[in-house]
């Protein structure tokens, strides 16, 4: 597994980001919440490697603190969204018939929902909390995965090795998990790695309407949004928070790509 | 009409996997002149199909080609192995057409056959819609369709395997190439369609002076239709020459063995395969690649790779002990 270069590089990248975000805040001398009104909107310098924001807070520390939140949200939401999407997509694609029709109409309904409206309603009726945001994000992110998985299952179902497995008298669960699932894992992994990035960005939108992180708390998305207020003047805010997201997405993508290689029997040695 | 000749010299293909170069075929040489039918015969996995693809440089990304394949008859001769990608694009379809074994998978399922043929026509024909339509009908009629317009309107899934292979042939010749490469075109066809396809090949040669490179695993039909023959085993040229001569006097034991297998299908005891290799491939030393299955093999066959020997009439073979 470790022999695969792409996988190795991706893992190193992702681990570096994780370690930085988890450990460094304790070591960092600068407090991400301390406002220093004498150092408002300073460009990158030795004392503030990423510069400061509109309140004079050290951006490097804020990005590291924000990373904890963003990564937690990105990973947890992606995990649940992919899990829900995969299960619904597999059931829909494999069983077909009215189950398929019902589930796919449900997906359409979910996609067609005025998401913002629902979110505002939720915000209006409940006290915003981190857990609630995870639940809502997960519930609104699985549909694309479900569609992709369904399409993949529909193709895989017609494969002769799946037909052969059915003809062996294997039960449906075994056919699904041993013959279909391992062979559609590639597209699932790809959509999962892409989703991490988009979830991190979507979270900032939720923060904007008051459901996500509240000031003075930080996440990559909120910092990015903040930076847009003065893109020309304080470009470093957008640049570094954006870079953090991009590097994370690239890291997870490499891990995903490497994972596909490692799990491929033509390059690896493992049986799934 | 000008004529194209193709001269292939010492063509080898290696595919890199896990850091090791695997030889697919090596030192294949042949001449290919106007309106001839050259058959490449051999077992599956022997590199025949990749040989076809390498002439149009359709080999996979991790493949490495060496040798030369010079196409002359054009204003300037072009080496298919070393020419630029844009030169190659002007050759694919326009100078050299190609037919694959599975016509169904080489066609676009959501386009009518007529539309696909239209796309394959040369630019000057395409610009005139009326001319193009007439040309499509002519081509379909040429390959033996009685209602060309109905075929042009059909989608691939509405046609049977034999009909599809004819449409695939039209696709390959629509760009007016002078060389046609056919990779096992008849393997999936039944006897009637196979016969019609071979008749069609003969007409293409006679009427358009087209030369055809035909890959097959059926030695018998190769001997019937082809005028030149090249026998490939495990990526090595075993024998080549005029089909008529090889039919009479095969020099290589492998050629003879293939003939015997085909004959044995009609024998009362049932078909007799060529014996399986005694030595596993990994342990094979530098000797003749066929030595492990050869009934005439002597110790030297396992040690020393035989040299290519030439006889009269361009008949050549690679064997220490050629048959009389």
């Amino acid at each position: 597994m470790w022999r695969d270069k792409i996988f190795r590089f991706g893992i190193i990248l992702v681990l570096t980001i994780l370690v930085l975000c988890v450990c460094l805040p304790w070591v960092m001398p600068q407090d991400p919440y301390t406002q220093n009104l004498e150092e408002i909107s300073q460009p990158p310098s030795l004392s503030h490697p990423f510069g400061t924001d509109f309140f004079g807070r050290d951006l490097f520390s804020r990005i590291l603190y924000g990373g904890r939140l963003s990564l937690t949200i990105g990973i947890i939401v992606t995990f649940f969204a992919v899990a829900i999407g995969t299960i619904i997509g597999m059931i829909s694609g494999y069983f077909g018939g009215w189950i398929d029709v019902a589930l796919m109409r449900f997906v359409d309904v979910m996609l067609g929902f005025p998401r913002l409206f629902i979110l505002l309603t939720v915000v209006g009726f409940t006290r915003p909390s981190f857990g609630l945001m995870l639940v809502i994000l997960s519930l609104f992110s699985w549909m694309e995965v479900a569609r992709i998985v369904r399409a993949e299952v529909l193709t895989a179902r017609e494969r002769l090795y799946v037909k052969s497995a059915v003809a062996l008298g294997l039960n449906r669960r075994r056919v699904l998990f041993r013959y279909i699932f391992p062979n559609i894992l590639g597209p699932i992994i790809v959509s999962a790695t892409l989703m991490i990035g988009s979830v991190i960005v979507i979270e900032s939108g939720l923060s904007f309407i008051g459901l996500g992180v509240q000031p003075p708390g930080a996440s990559w998305g909120t910092i990015l949004n903040q930076g847009f207020q003065d893109l020309a003047g304080a470009w470093w805010i957008t640049l570094f928070s954006g870079l953090a997201i991009v590097v994370t997405v690239i890291g997870f993508n490499l891990v995903g790509e490497g994972l596909i290689n490692v799990l491929d029997p033509k390059t690896g040695e493992r049986e799934l | 009409m000008d004529h194209l000749t193709l001269e292939v010299r010492n063509l080898s293909l290696f595919i890199q996997s896990e850091g090791v170069d695997k030889t697919i075929f090596e030192e294949v040489s042949f001449n290919f002149s106007a309106s001839s039918l050259l058959a490449i015969v051999g077992e599956s996995g022997g590199g025949k199909s990749l040989l076809c693809k390498s002439l149009l440089r359709l080999t996979p990304g991790n493949a490495r080609l060496s040798g030369s394949a010079v196409l002359s008859g054009l204003p300037t001769p072009i080496d298919l192995i070393s020419c630029s990608e844009s030169e190659m694009e002007s050759i694919r379809g326009r100078r050299i057409g190609m037919i694959f074994q599975e016509p169904a998978s080489s066609m676009n399922p959501v386009m009518t056959c007529g539309k696909q043929i239209f796309d394959a026509l040369p630019k000057n024909v395409r610009s005139d819609k009326l001319l193009a339509r007439r040309r499509i009908a002519e081509l379909l009629e040429f390959v033996g369709f009685k209602e060309p317009n109905r075929i042009a309107r059909s989608y691939p899934h509405e046609l049977s395997g034999g009909m599809l292979q004819k449409v695939a042939t039209v696709l390959a010749i629509a760009g007016e190439p002078l060389i046609l490469i056919a990779d096992e075109p008849s393997t999936a066809l039944d006897a009637i369609n196979r016969f019609e396809l071979m008749e069609l090949f003969q007409r293409l040669r006679k009427e358009f002076g087209m030369s055809i490179l035909w890959v097959t695993h059926e030695l018998r039909s190769a001997l019937t239709y082809a005028d030149e023959l090249l026998v490939l085993y495990d990526g090595n040229m075993m024998e080549s020459g005029k089909a008529a001569e090889i039919a009479e006097h095969p020099k290589h034991p492998y050629t003879k063995a293939l003939m015997d297998v085909e004959k044995s299908f009609r024998e009362p005891d049932g078909p007799r395969p060529i014996p399986e290799e005694i030595l596993p491939a990994e342990n094979r030393s530098a000797g003749c690649v066929f030595a492990g299955r050869c009934e005439f093999a002597k110790p030297i066959c396992r040690i020393e790779r035989p040299k290519w020997e030439s006889g009269e009439n361009r008949h050549g073979w690679r064997c220490h002990f050629p048959l009389k």
Partner: protein, 276 residues
């Protein structure tokens, strides 16, 4: 009770006279593809099979010959219960397979096993040969029993034990096809549906597999439905031959009858154009 079974190969007429046992009875089978209503409009339908009826007796080899698109594979898929829309009946030992309950269908599937043309496609690329064969075995067997069966099936198709730890892509074309046959045997099947099972192989391998198939037939008292476009292999293996054209079974009879005095002009042409 294998001693009751009649010798599988040889003169099938003898079997017919003694105890003509119907294994599979296909009655007026019609299969259409693409019949669907969208916005109240009926889509174009393709009739893949048109009123096809035939019988397969236990121990015989029935060959069905036809070109691509003649409905050969649809017959295989119908018998394997993979075709949804149809009319007509397929009776296995007198019982309609489309009326089976789930458990019965599972048992039926284990008795009637397919071997497809494309061995590459018929093996799960993610499973090693051992797992592929294990999946085919009766799960109730003990693990020693399973191992014994696997080795028995492998040696029946003349494969070495060292293929067990390989993935399909590490096998040659002939080895893959033999793994498929071994898998079909591992379920203790009665009947194999050989859908162009050897057609795309080269001739020496075809000869090899034909020989293997006739040995297996005798050893395990199998019944074959041999589907092919190639008359030469049909001549070697078949007891009876049916000719398919455009979804219809136009002629069916004993091998000698079809090969020596065909009635339909299509069959005559097919024989005339044959390879040899």
């Amino acid at each position: 009770m294998s001693w009751i079974r009649k010798p599988a190969s040889g003169n099938y007429k003898m079997i017919m006279n003694s105890d003509c046992e119907k294994l599979l009875d296909v009655k007026e089978l019609t299969v259409r593809y693409g019949q669907r209503k969208t916005f109240g409009l009926r889509e174009k339908t393709v009739v893949a099979l048109n009123n096809v009826s035939f019988l397969i007796h236990r121990g015989e080899t029935l060959a069905l010959v036809g070109e691509t698109g003649s409905g050969k594979s649809t017959i295989a898929m119908s018998i394997l219960h993979f075709v949804a829309r149809h009319s007509g009946e397929i009776l296995y030992r007198g019982k309609n397979i489309w009326k089976y309950k789930r458990g019965e269908l599972r048992a039926y599937h284990r008795k009637v096993q397919p071997v497809f043309q494309n061995a590459d496609e018929s093996l799960n690329p993610r499973l090693k040969v051992r797992s592929t064969l294990l999946d085919a075995l009766d799960p109730a067997l003990s693990s020693e029993e399973k191992n014994r069966r696997i080795i028995e099936c492998l040696s029946a198709v003349q494969l070495n034990e060292n293929v067990l730890s390989r993935f399909p892509h590490q096998l040659s074309g002939g080895q893959k096809q033999r793994v498929c046959i071994a898998r079909a045997l591992a379920t203790e099947s009665e009947m194999l549906i050989l859908d162009e099972a050897i057609s795309s192989q080269d001739l020496s391998l075809q000869a090899h597999l034909l020989k293997l198939l006739s040995e297996l037939k005798q050893k395990f008292s199998l019944t074959y439905l041999y589907i092919s476009h190639d008359l030469e292999t049909v001549r070697v293996i078949a007891d009876r031959v049916g000719i398919l054209k455009d979804g219809r079974l136009i002629e069916i009879g004993d091998k000698d009858e079809i090969f020596n005095s065909p009635k339909e002009s299509y069959t005559q042409l097919l024989l005339e154009r044959s390879r040899f």
